[in-house]
């Protein structure tokens, strides 16, 4: 297992290096620069030149590139060209918020998806199965921000059970913080639950016809033990993989939820940085998001290997 982890971290570092370079170049290709974004439309050419000098944008690209990696290796995520604040001051809370949103959404998806999938598989072909399958297809089909808008309208305005409060951190007011999380997590969880349900159902249907299930039954152990210990346990492998992939897509999908619910996560921080062409922040956020996605994939693979002893390194 350690060899596997070593190889994967090596690959992760390589991946991050490629992504870092990619975003460094991509961002500078976008028309418009931070000086213009900071000074607005009224600034004249001379003022712009001054601002660019102050932001050291005129240095040769190679030097900026080397500086970027050098600072990164010393743990300095750079300073925002626009607000003058160290990225390290703002990024952690944003990263935390996105992680919180995504992990809770996945937790809900697993907590709801697996039992639903299990029920549908065990009663394949009957009413419960059709209801669950139909529901999961519906869950997959509804666009995220339509759900978000409707939930916001329903529970914040018309029936203010969860009125739209201002954001508070967990350690300030845990209850309010969690109440704020309910609607965004629910929005993300709907799609994720659908995916987990479908995956669990398919995996269990396939495993149920496996030989070792018949062997288990032949030893006379109780049916619910056969289901839990043999069928469900073996279905976890594909489900865990699906959860890993789903978590990665969830991270990408938070931008709409963060926007509609005003949840200050990584995506909204990134979009704000892009619209002000704040290079250091964009680079830091993209790398952070990439680390998140790589970590999630690695966690899913490790979990997969723990659950399935015969998994060979893929």
């Amino acid at each position: 297992m350690t060899r596997f982890l070593l190889r994967r971290t090596g690959l992760a570092v390589f991946q991050l290096f490629v992504i870092g370079t990619l975003v460094f170049l991509l961002v500078r290709l976008i028309p418009g620069d931070p000086a213009r974004a900071a000074l607005g439309e009224t600034a004249d050419a001379e003022q712009l030149a001054h601002a660019r000098a102050l932001m050291r944008l005129n240095e040769p690209v190679a030097e900026q590139y080397a500086g970027f990696w050098a600072r990164l290796l010393h743990g300095d995520l750079g300073t925002s060209l626009i607000s003058g604040r160290a990225v390290l001051a703002d990024l952690p809370i944003r990263l935390g918020n996105t992680l919180e949103l995504v992990l809770l959404a996945l937790a809900v998806a697993l907590a709801a998806g697996i039992p639903l999938g299990r029920a549908a598989a065990l009663r394949a072909g009957r009413r419960t199965d059709h209801a669950v399958t139909g529901g999961s297809i519906l869950g997959l089909s509804a666009p995220v921000f339509v759900i978000a808008t409707l939930l916001l309208l329903l529970f914040s305005v018309y029936w203010p059970v969860l009125p739209q409060q201002r954001y508070v951190t967990l350690w300030d007011d845990p209850l309010a913080h969690l109440r704020l999380l309910v609607l965004p997590v629910l929005t993300l969880a709907i799609g994720a639950t659908a995916v987990i349900t479908r995956m669990t159902r398919a995996a269990m249907l396939e495993t149920a016809s496996a030989d070792f299930v018949r062997t288990a039954r032949a030893t006379g152990i109780a049916e619910r033990l056969v289901v839990r210990r043999h069928i469900l346990r073996n279905s976890l492998v594909p489900v865990v993989n699906a959860a890993g992939v789903e978590l990665a897509t969830l991270i990408g999908g938070t931008v709409l939820v963060e926007t509609v619910f005003g949840w200050p996560g990584l995506s909204s921080y990134l979009i704000n940085a892009v619209s002000t062409r704040d290079y250091p922040v964009i680079q830091a956020v993209v790398l952070a998001a990439a680390v998140l996605v790589i970590a999630v994939n690695l966690a899913a693979d490790v979990a997969g290997r723990l659950i399935d002893p015969r998994a060979e390194a893929v």
């Binding site: 070792f212 006379g220 152990i221 346990r233 015969r310």
Partner: protein, 555 residues
């Protein structure tokens, strides 16, 4: 005569509209081994499974299954569950998939135990270790924590037997327990079953399609065909004087090791003499080949310095157990696997380092037949297209000429040419193998490589395919490298035989030398282990094998 412990009377099982078992009745007495023998689709497995009500939901069973006088058919789930494992233990065929891959073997045995005898987990584990030891698994203390994929095929089968007998059931039903195992490992399992019968007095229902195994282990035999028992008799009476015509045909079709030792009138005289191998069609000299082993364990050397040659018109039998590297050799000959060292010459061309372009002319001279009829033909292509493909690739024929050649080939292998538009899944296993052969000889090859062409087929179908091969070989005169693990089959075809073990040639010689008087101890053990469809001779060979085994090493 003691009371039968298990008796089926007029058992009928239907899957929807199609009947699978049409009125099967038999009894099994304690300490008796009843063999249920028949070809695939004869209903032998369905009958075995219906005893414990393990049939899929779509099945409907009628008739009576009495276990020590107690009716099981139609009994409630509770009664059935009480019987499963406690009174009747079951062992299945596929060792790879019959055990839960995510739990250690010991844990699964402990669960089976505690299903009927509530006991603390530790005690169940101890009992599991004892059981593993009892079924002959080395170092049971360590192996109890092993996962199924960490055990060999034979060990997994022994673990499953341990699980089946953990609650000392009165009856053990074994559904083709040794079919997927090598001959030597199979012999070990059969010894274990016999020992259980003597020591615990367990009644055993042994389901198989292998007449050799029946002769080796059964007391009484029930021959099944299309859901019915056509004949039931003690094993010696059945082999000596089969009454039912189907049984007679079945026994005749089974390749009989040693019987072919008498000179075969149809073979040209002197065929036995070691042919002069001066212009060999295929020649391997000191060939070694390696596979990238699992990470961390370095490269696994599959072939280690093998030299062999196949003369024109000659059939060389390449015999070895699974993992011996015989299939790899076949792929090296065709150029699918590159030899790490040594030289490979086909029709005089050195192809060891040949690029794909250089290999092209040589490949036109080689035909290949694969083992698994299910996967040897492209499911998305018609059999006509499959046969025509080598012609296109070799540039021998196009369009109408190719179609004519295909019709010719289909007739040659006994398939109606009208079927050329059919897809592989519309043909039976035997028919698919015949198409495979037609494809192989399409380019009129000088060398045919047959990698276990018949081992996935039923005995009767196997016989017809082997006859076809010999006929074609005599008519077209190609050299043939015949790869198999079944000594009886190789005896029917091969002029010379090479025995392979763990990538090294153990012994080479003519058919009579190898099968008649094997020199190398491994060959001798291999020949001794292969069951012969004749109870008398098999009992004699068994005692001889045991003395041999007692002498040197465990099976």
């Amino acid at each position: 005569m003691t009371e039968p412990v298990l008796s089926l009377s007029d058992l009928r099982v239907d899957f929807g509209a199609t009947p699978a078992v049409r009125g099967v009745s038999f009894d099994v007495r304690p300490g008796e081994i009843l063999a249920l023998v028949g070809e695939s689709g004869s209903g032998k497995s369905v009958s075995a499974l219906s005893v414990l009500g393990l049939l899929p939901r779509t099945a409907r069973a009628r008739g009576s299954i009495r276990l020590a006088g107690d009716e099981l058919l139609g009994a409630g789930e509770a009664r059935l569950r009480a019987a499963r494992g406690a009174e009747v233990g079951m062992v299945f065929q596929e060792p790879m998939t019959a055990l839960n891959p995510v739990y250690p073997v010991g844990r699964q045995i402990a669960d089976a135990l505690r299903a009927h005898r509530p006991m603390p987990r530790a005690a169940a584990y101890e009992r599991a270790v004892a059981l593993l030891d009892q079924v002959g698994i080395p170092e049971p203390g360590r192996r109890v924590r092993a996962y199924p994929h960490e055990l060999s095929g034979g060990q997994r089968q022994r673990a499953m037997i341990a699980m089946a007998i953990c609650c000392d059931p009165k009856v053990l039903i074994a559904d083709e327990p040794t079919t997927a195992l090598d001959v030597t490992v199979q012999a070990g399992i059969l010894d274990l079953l016999r020992e259980l019968r003597e020591r615990l007095g367990t009644a055993i229902v042994f389901v198989t399609h292998d007449m050799g195994v029946v002769a080796d282990v059964a007391d009484r035999v029930a021959v099944m065909r299309a859901g019915e028992i056509v004949e039931q008799a003690p094993v010696t009476d059945l082999f000596a004087a089969p009454r039912d015509p189907y049984t007679r045909d079945l026994l005749a079709a089974v390749p009989h090791l040693g019987r072919a030792a008498e000179p075969d009138p149809t073979r040209p005289p002197g065929a036995d003499a070691p042919p002069s191998v001066e212009a060999p069609v295929l020649e391997l000299r000191d060939v070694t080949a390696e596979y990238p082993g699992r990470p961390g364990r370095g490269r696994h050397r599959a072939i280690d310095g093998v030299s062999l040659a196949v003369g024109p018109g000659e059939v060389l039998g390449l015999v070895g157990e699974s993992g011996s590297g015989k299939s790899t050799l076949g792929r090296i000959a065709v150029g699918l696997v590159r030899a790490a060292a040594g030289t490979v010459r086909v029709c005089g061309h050195d192809v060891t380092r040949a690029s794909r372009r250089e290999l092209r002319p040589v490949r036109r001279r080689i035909g290949v037949v694969f083992q698994d009829p299910g996967s040897s033909l492209n499911p998305r292509a018609t059999i006509g297209a499959a046969i025509a493909e080598p012609l296109h690739l070799a540039g021998l024929a196009r369009g109408r000429a190719a179609r004519a050649r295909v019709v010719e080939l289909l007739d040659a292998v006994g398939i109606p040419s009208a079927w050329s538009a059919r897809y592989p899944h519309e043909l039976s296993g035997g028919q698919r193998q015949r198409v495979g052969i037609a494809r192989a000889i399409a380019v009129r090859p000088d060398l045919l490589i047959a990698d276990e062409p018949t081992s996935a087929l039923d005995v009767s179908v196997q016989a017809t395919v082997l006859d076809l091969l010999t006929a074609l070989q005599r008519e077209l005169g190609f050299a043939c490298l015949f790869i198999t693990h079944d000594l009886a089959v190789v005896e029917m075809l091969a002029d010379r035989i090479t025995v392979l073990r763990a990538g090294r040639v153990v012994e080479t010689g003519t058919r009579t030398e190898i099968l008649g008087s094997p020199q190398d101890p491994y060959t001798r053990a291999l020949v001794a282990a292969a069951p012969v469809p004749d109870p008398e001779r098999q009992r004699h060979r068994r005692t001889e094998r045991h003395t041999l085994l007692a002498g040197r090493y465990a099976g």
